[in-house]
Amino acid sequence: MPIIIPPCLQPGDTIGITCPAGYMPLEKAQTCIDTLPAWGYNVKVGAMLGSTSDNYFSGTDDQRLAELQQMLDDPEIKTILCGRGGYGITRIIDRLDFTGFLQCPKWIVGFSDITLLHTHILTRCNVATLHAPMAGAFNDDGAAGPGIESLRRALAGEPQSYRAPVHPFNGNGNATGPIVGGNLALLAHSIGSASEPDTRGSILFLEDVGEYLYNIDRMMRQLKRAGKLKDLAGLLIGGFTELKDTTRPFGASVEAIIRDAIGAAPYPVAFDFPISHGKENVALKIGATYRLHVDSEGTILQE
C-alpha cells in the first residue's frame, strides 16, 4: 500500500502548536509563533504550550492526549508542530484515535521524543510525518538557519536536497527507499511495541543526545539483534551530541561504536548527516521516498 503523503500547506493554512511531552514556557516558542505568520500561515497555540503545569510534563496525560487528539481531529488545523520533545509520548500514544487524522491527513512535526509518534503513525497509519526542528529551534537566530529553512520548504512542498561531507567510515553507493528513523533511544524503546517500525528496504537515520557511549553501543546492538539494521536500503548517521562516558572510558568514538555495530553493511552508509539535537537538524519526511548517493565527494540525499 503506497504511503499517504499529507498535502503541503497553502498560504492562510493554520499550524497548531502543542506540547505532547515535556513542559515548555510560552516565551521559548515566541520566535516561532512570530515567524510562522511571516511564512503565510496562521498559528493556533494550544494550552499545553506555556501551561500552568509545575512538573516535568506540559500537562497530565489526559490533558496532553486531549489537546493532541483535538488537533488531530480539527480539520482547520493543517499541521501540528510540537513545541518540544522531552519525555511523554509513550504515556499517551496507545490512547490516540487516528480515525479523523486518516480521513484528513496532516503533517505532524517534531523529533526526539516525538520519534515514537512518527514510527507509530508510519506503522499503524501508513502516513508520512515530518522529522524536523520544533518551536524552540527558532530561537537564537535559528529561524534564519538551514534547519528551520528546510522545515519551511518541507511544509511549502518545495523539494528537499541535503548534502553531508565525506567521512572515513562512509560506505559508498546509491539507494532509493522510504526514510525512517529518528532518536536512537526512542527507536530502541519502540521495539517489541505497537510503535515498532519495519525498517526493511528503508533508509534508516539515527541521532541521539546526552547518552553514555556504552548505552549507544547497547542500543545499536539491540537494533542489530532485532533485525533493524538488516536489509536496509541505506543508513544515515546524524549527530550524537552531549555524549557522556563512564569512569572507565569506553575507549571508542561514537562513530567507531556505530561502525562496529553495523559491520560490513551491504548498503550505503553516511556519517555526519545534518540531523541532531545540535545546530544541524534538517527536515526529513518519514515514510517518503528519497534517493541517497554516497561517494568520495560526500553524501547527497534527495527527495
Partner: protein
C-alpha cells in the same frame, strides 16, 4: 533479610519441573564440596587481584576454582576482546569438569558475545551460570533458549576483602550464593510496604536489570513473562527513564499476564534542575500495574546494593505478599528436605 527454611542442603537437584512454555526446566545439579566453579569475564574487566577475596571465600566453602583466561585481560572497558571473552565462556560451558560458572563482574559487554555462544552442551550437562546486572543478558537468554535455570546474585567484585568488617547484609548476600548453589531451600523476606499489593502467586522467577531487559526486546534473548514472577532492579537511571522502561514493559506485553511483580532496589539518578519528575518509583510502578490484580512488592532485597540475595532464576517460587510480611520461597526444594549429617 534472608532466612533459610528448616531445610539443610540437599544432595541433588529436585525433579525438573515443566515450564509453562513447554520446554522442560533444565535444572543444573546442585554443587557438592570438591566441585569446580569457573570464573570468567563475559562483560567488564577485572584484575586477578580483585577476584582474590572471592577465590579465597569460595575455596573456604569447599569448592575448587578455575580462573578463566579473561580474568586480568582488558580491552577498553571489557575483560578482553569479544573473541577472547566468548572463547573463555565457551570453554567453561564445554568443560565437563566445571559445575558452575561465576561471572566476575557485570559492567557492559555480554550482548557482544551472546550470539556467538553455543549453549547446547548445557542440554546434556546443565551447569549454574551466576551473575547479575549486565549478566541479565545471559540469564534471560538461557531462560528463553532452553529454559536453563541460573543464579542471579552478586559476583566476585562484591566479596568483602575483610569479612570482619563486612556489613551483615553484604555477608549474608555473599553466603546466600553458597546456599543457592548447594540446593538449600531459599526463602527471602522483604520489609512490609504500604504500597505493596497483597496476594499469593507461584511461578518461575525471571527478570533482572530493567534497562538490560528493555535492551533485549525484539531479540532472541527477550523473555516471555506470562505466568511468571518478574523481578526488576536498576541503578543510575533517571525517574523519567524508569517510567519509560515500565511503559516499555507494559507496551511489549510483559506486565499483563504476570503471576507477580517484585521490585528490587533502584538507585535513582537525581532529576536535573527544572526537569523534576515529581513521581516516586512507587507511583510509577503502581500506575503501570493498576489494571491488574497480581501481588506486587517493593524494596525486595535484590539490586545494586548490599542486600542482594542469590535468586534461583527460572525456577518456580511462591510469592506471598501480606500486610505484615513479604516472603518469596523457592518452591523447587521440598521444605522438609535434609541432608544426612548436615
Amino acid at each position: 533479610m534472608l532466612t533459610i527454611g528448616a531445610a539443610g542442603p540437599v544432595l541433588a537437584a529436585s525433579a525438573p519441573a515443566k515450564a509453562k512454555t513447554g520446554t522442560p526446566l533444565n535444572m543444573p545439579t546442585y554443587l557438592r564440596p570438591g566441585d569446580t566453579i569457573g570464573i570468567t569475564c563475559p562483560a567488564g574487566n577485572i584484575t586477578a587481584k580483585e577476584i582474590l577475596p572471592a577465590v579465597q571465600q569460595i575455596e573456604d566453602w569447599g569448592f575448587r576454582i578455575k580462573v578463566g583466561d579473561t580474568v586480568g585481560k582488558k580491552d577498553s572497558i571489557f575483560g578482553g576482546t569479544d573473541a577472547e571473552r566468548a572463547a573463555d565462556l565457551q570453554q567453561m560451558i564445554n568443560d565437563p569438569g566445571i559445575q558452575a560458572i561465576l561471572c566476575a563482574r557485570g559492567g557492559y559487554g555480554a550482548v557482544h558475545i551472546i550470539d556467538q555462544l553455543d549453549f547446547s552442551p548445557l542440554a546434556s550437562h546443565p551447569k549454574w551460570i551466576i551473575g547479575f546486572s549486565d549478566i541479565t543478558v545471559i540469564l534471560c537468554h538461557l531462560h528463553t533458549n532452553g529454559n536453563f535455570a541460573s543464579i542471579h546474585s552478586k559476583m566476585c567484585n562484591s566479596f568483602p576483602d575483610d569479612w570482619s568488617k563486612a556489613e551483615p547484609a553484604q555477608a549474608d548476600s555473599i553466603l546466600s550464593i553458597r546456599k543457592a548453589l548447594s540446593g538449600e531451600r531459599m526463602q527471602y523476606k522483604a520489609l512490609p510496604n504500604t504500597r505493596n499489593r497483597y496476594g499469593r502467586a507461584e511461578g518461575p522467577l525471571v527478570g533482572g536489570n530493567l534497562k538490560t531487559i528493555e535492551s533485549l526486546a525484539g531479540t532472541r534473548s527477550d523473555i516471555d513473562t506470562a505466568g511468571k514472577i518478574l523481578f526488576v532492579e536498576d541503578t543510575g537511571e533517571y525517574l523519567y527513564s524508569i517510567d519509560r522502561m515500565f511503559w516499555h514493559l507494559q507496551r511489549t506485553g510483559k506486565l499483563d499476564r504476570l503471576a507477580g511483580l517484585v521490585v528490587g532496589g533502584f538507585k535513582i539518578k537525581p532529576d536535573d534542575p527544572g526537569e523534576e519528575f515529581e513521581r516516586t518509583l512507587y507511583d510509577i510502578v503502581t500506575e503501570r500495574v493498576k489494571a491488574y490484580n497480581y501481588p506486587l512488592c517493593f524494596d525486595f532485597p535484590v539490586g545494586h546494593q548490599k542486600e542482594n540475595y542469590a535468586l534461583k532464576y527460572g525456577i518456580s517460587h511462591l510469592l506471598d505478599v501480606r500486610e505484615a510480611e513479604v516472603t518469596l520461597t523457592d518452591s523447587s526444594v521440598p521444605a522438609a528436605t535434609t541432608i544426612p549429617g548436615a
